[in-house]
Symmetry: D3
């Protein structure tokens, strides 16, 4: 079960609030690269973890940390919104100039139009949505029951998470926000490294792949298991690289390249069944015999 400490994990200061930056920060809360995603992903992976208990504990520890990241960002969004225009009274003198220039459109209108729901739905607070206002959807919680597939999913999530945090850092103009983001970037570094370290802990990618390593490719299909397939219409060979020759990552064979060619038949379903709601014209051919 869980406990809470009222203090934030790291200071969140916002001397120069910017409502548009609040909108950008939402990507780090409710975006697919964001903190709700990693938090819930590690939590569900931990709840379903079978095998050595240390991986379960590791997942739960970091899930718990990510809750604190959501909390920091939620506070940061509210701080950035605190001066956002919400009514006619906010309109300053500048607006009449802008209106003249922009054909009646005011600066207030521009901000309203860019973040309507923070003004209309949340009362100037953070929401579990991305930077376009699209709610986070839990189908992005990847937890497959295969520990290596899950660790890869986690490393990937932290890579896109750190990429997002770097982009936000590049955009930020407020020193308080830059400081908060630099802490988050550092944690994303660790989290990337730790999930990759967990794969090393299990013997590394050579031992772990192909995932799941509890199923071996069947002998008759093995020729397809290390072949890079080119699909160029004009028969141009596929691009050469580490993936077209040399030992495979799992060390079980060598890569090679070849042009893809059809091995199957032209598919055909025959006519439609009389009870299937199709048109009469579709029923005039015989249903195909079972293959």
């Amino acid at each position: 079960m869980f406990y809470h400490d009222k203090r934030l994990q790291y200071p969140v200061r916002c001397p120069n609030p910017n409502p548009v930056f609040a909108k950008m920060l939402q990507q780090a809360i409710g975006g697919i690269e964001g903190e709700i995603r990693v938090c819930m992903q590690y939590f569900f992976q931990a709840m379903g973890a079978r095998g050595p208990v240390k991986y379960r504990d590791m997942l739960m520890a970091t899930a718990t940390e990510e809750l604190a990241h959501i909390e920091m960002l939620g506070h940061a969004v509210a701080l950035n919104l605190r001066n956002a225009p919400a009514s006619l009274q906010d309109e300053g003198a500048a607006d009449s100039i802008v209106g003249a220039v922009m054909g009646g459109q005011s600066a207030k209108d521009t901000i309203l139009g860019m973040m309507p729901r923070h003004l209309l739905s949340s009362g100037l607070s953070a929401m579990p949505v991305d930077s376009n206002g699209v709610a986070f959807d839990m189908s992005h919680i990847y937890a497959s029951g295969n520990i290596v597939a899950d660790m890869m999913a986690n490393a990937m999530a932290e890579m896109s998470g750190r990429t997002l945090a770097v982009r936000l850092y590049n955009m930020a103009e407020c020193e308080g926000m830059k400081d908060m983001l630099s802490f988050m970037i550092a944690r994303d570094t660790m989290h990337q490294e730790q999930w990759l370290a967990a794969i090393e802990d299990m013997g590394g990618l050579a031992a772990a792949t192909p995932v799941p390593n509890s199923f071996q490719d069947l002998p008759e299909q093995k020729k397809f298991a290390y072949m890079f397939m080119g699909t160029d219409r004009n028969g141009e060979p596929p691009p050469e690289g580490r993936w077209t020759s040399g030992p495979s990552i799992d060390g079980k064979d060598n890569f090679y390249a070849a042009q893809a060619e059809p091995m199957g038949e032209v598919p055909s379903l025959g006519g439609a069944r009389p009870d299937s709601g199709a048109q009469k014209e579709q029923m005039q051919e015989a249903p195909k015999a079972a293959e």
Copy 2:
């Protein structure tokens, strides 16, 4: 641009059709581990690929191959559905026995209840949905503009894809389906290996991480970049493993473990603004001065 060959990439035979297995196969078409996902993911990554052109070409070649996998599975679903019950006339003698046993419920009802939309909406054909009938949602196409984050996303997708194919293979009772799936498992092996090989092609994970490698952790935050944080309420130390000591994966520092402690303040937003649609009681405290 694209071209089509009428033949399938690999034979799809289904001597023993099973409508419930058709439902299972839908996960490999429209599930998050399925073929629409990898196909569109590689396609969008290719369209946005900046930097060495060989990665773009590699992505497009495999995107093109995945189209053929959707096609094979779509045909397999239709073949498995071809005898599914769709009307009263399908009811055989067995049903009256089942009805007696199951309190009026018939075997036909059971199948209808498990796959309603294949009977009501698609006319016994494949749909772009998962095994629960939930439509695939393109937010699962991960394409970040960072080539290593994307290759990891691809390797992860193929790992969960091969895990799914193995589970389907374990469930399958029809030899035709087992043969088709064993080909797909072999291709998933190659695809896992090839995306990992692309990372090696760029110097491997040591050179690539932390992603993005074009941004270095700031000196003042570096102490947080290799620290595994324990969050146990009772102060129990975090689980030991490759992630608590020894060199980090990027080779830039050493891992260590520590207990997480709050470094920030108790957050506070003060009172609500008069124009914000809050209750009067929320406005009785002064809005907090800007931080």
Copy 3:
């Protein structure tokens, strides 16, 4: 504005309730072929209708009728569910036999597993979801502001709606349900016909197409406007039919067939920008000059 008459548009009787059929009927309420869709589609088209007012009035009249169809189906679902098993007390003697046969699984479990939310969430009533329990999503309301595109969308919706009603009719075993569905099938007939009649009212498809008919194909592109493009990899000609020769539907030209060939360049984006969160390796090539 709207008014309500307490009586249903047509009798809804259900002497033989079947909870699985309730699940099937949900497709006609909250499915993409269902009544919420057509009701809201006609309503939004009416609210945005510009031009001759008779089309607006016609849309609103049928939107109002569709509300009555939702109401009939909602009642039908509740009637079919009225004996569904919701607790241990429902279990009859038959279950012990089934349990013996099915390895501990009971008939009650089977029904629960097929319609969990009608038992857990709605208290044995209709929901605005499809037959898989997926909620209706208003993105399926098609209202383009182009009256012909909208009438086609409506005709199509009624075609798939009547196809669905026919499939339900084929599945139904209860005379009351068959009677209700036969009324709905008749109304779907009329609704198909009336939207097509509205296109005739505007001059028919020849005058209406290509939609929008307020924009003419540019002279330099007109050669592509009536060409059926084959994309067979082996150069096999496209299938012949009404679409490969003879006058086009709009009467402006003649159809012909040809093989698709690339007219454009190989696309290239060059290197990534330094501020874009990409990997260093992607930045080593120069960004491509503006095209």
Copy 4:
């Protein structure tokens, strides 16, 4: 920030695992009446709470407790799934009998067909989805910035939550599950009561409504603010009750009933603009002058 204790809040025992009950329990994890919803709702409300700090602290305390409920249910789902059929080897002798009865369909097929993703996607673990396998969508996190609207949303969520828990309790056959659910029902009782108590703490519904109480109905519209409108087509008066006479809940006026009648005009938009992609026929009427 947050901390974790490895022990569960309350014992979770499952001596009689039932995979269909695992499916039912998913509604309490990822359903709209479930624990992810209340947990995240209280968390986001706390992060945006303005005004007296005690409400913020109360929200965060219960958000933290709800994390423990997700954890208990996640464990309960995995325990119920531990014997679910996942491969051919699971098939017992009973199946051949069932197959004979059900026309080739086996009991294993029935279970597979009812919970495909727990077998294919999660490896027999809990998922953040409802009982139909639909992922939880964070748009259900209601946090309006108005503390009374939010407390009502919370009370409502716990009412539907306790209703769900009671329905699950009625369905459960395993004593361990019944015990866990009875604890959750008790907590749902408290949570209902505490959010209602918070409204009393602010003066009760009379003082709080109409929400927001910081805006008064305008004098010229006040006649509409306490009138129950009947919309019966035949002029039948609306149903009498507490809402048609006597003092309003806010004590500001008296309820009364009346028949709704149109006060506005017939709406009209005139013709379509030439640049708007409409049909020519829609443009033949003049656009309506600005109202």
Copy 5:
């Protein structure tokens, strides 16, 4: 069944059209606080209402009224959009000044970028989407089959609806829009009051809670039913208020406060099954014996 009167319920005038305000109004149509939601929620509750018929009639009357509110807002959106820029010809002289100031970006671009689908998809008409352009999703229709839970859901929906209408009123600059919104605010007042009055009609919250009142907390769990649980990591007592002492709302007991402590075990699932698609490493521990 339903009938329609061509006139609007209340006048909708828009002398000063503002396309950005059209975007804001969309929240009141297709937002979770909007009119489609309440309309459909009351409709589905009415269709499933069991027990005294007056509640069913009341729900249906107000559902019917809400259809008229959608209609008013749909018209208001179209009126506000009627001068929105849709093509090059709209660009006035002001734009060249703006372009100079904004680095080539024009005022037209700004408006396009804020409401792309009203220009591209709807032809300047209302859509069933919220202010971010996200389509309304019917999972927000709450209808539980429990009349008190439903009345609370309705009161809450009207509270957030009136909060939204007040925020829109504060933003509006056009007198016609302010007048329309003041009517809607008054109706939201009545609707809040009427659903609360319905609960009073059934005896009030004391008699109604805990919902469902047809299930009593079990004796052995009753101690948890009135305890406010603190979860502070440092043992700080929970915030005091009406919820920590004094009689509970249902009058059945007294509130008290206590610190949450784990009563359960450390959960453990043991090793993975050989057929489950996990890694070999996860299978090296024995699956845990059934609890």
Copy 6:
């Protein structure tokens, strides 16, 4: 199976990149009127096509062409984004002027706020989303198994697709974009025409309707199959048009108009069941006898 040619189908040039236009183009990629939709719709229809094989081949040929359209648009989006502001360094001199005018808001902020995810999530590349950033959802792939319903769905999709392309053409200021769009408009013309031609190929709408033509309206319901129903509250007759008199489109009868009147009963469900989680008050009436 599929093959790829590295060259684009038609030249894509973008001499005057405009990030807001990139946002607009997204509607043509991931909008419901866009290219992913038609591509996947034709692909799934082809995979499920029963009856004459020429329709299947026709569908697959055009599905393959649409892949090339996605590719062109994906490249066009990336080209339009190539100068979008992504970091502080982009800010030119103009911004300080704008800032003065707009109360601190900069032109960079305006662009960021309008397209956050292209900057934060995709690294300046195309995404499978619409112009509001909402991901494409595969439930919009209409494939009913009825060939006429499907051809109508296709014609409708191309009509709304050409309407969208015309609107984009009207907005475009860059000659390269106008040229690309004029090619796409021409192809949308052909695609509209070809699906309508396919219906002619099967005998035209008279023979094809009512869809499905394999089910005839029952004699006792036929009177409802050609009646336009008015629902005006005041009994005003429905709008006259081609749909109120003259032969029906299917030639089987004549249209006529009549006022809708209720033929059914007042629905009633009686009291709630004791096991259903309702309130006690709902259970005090007897459950209604089965109808």
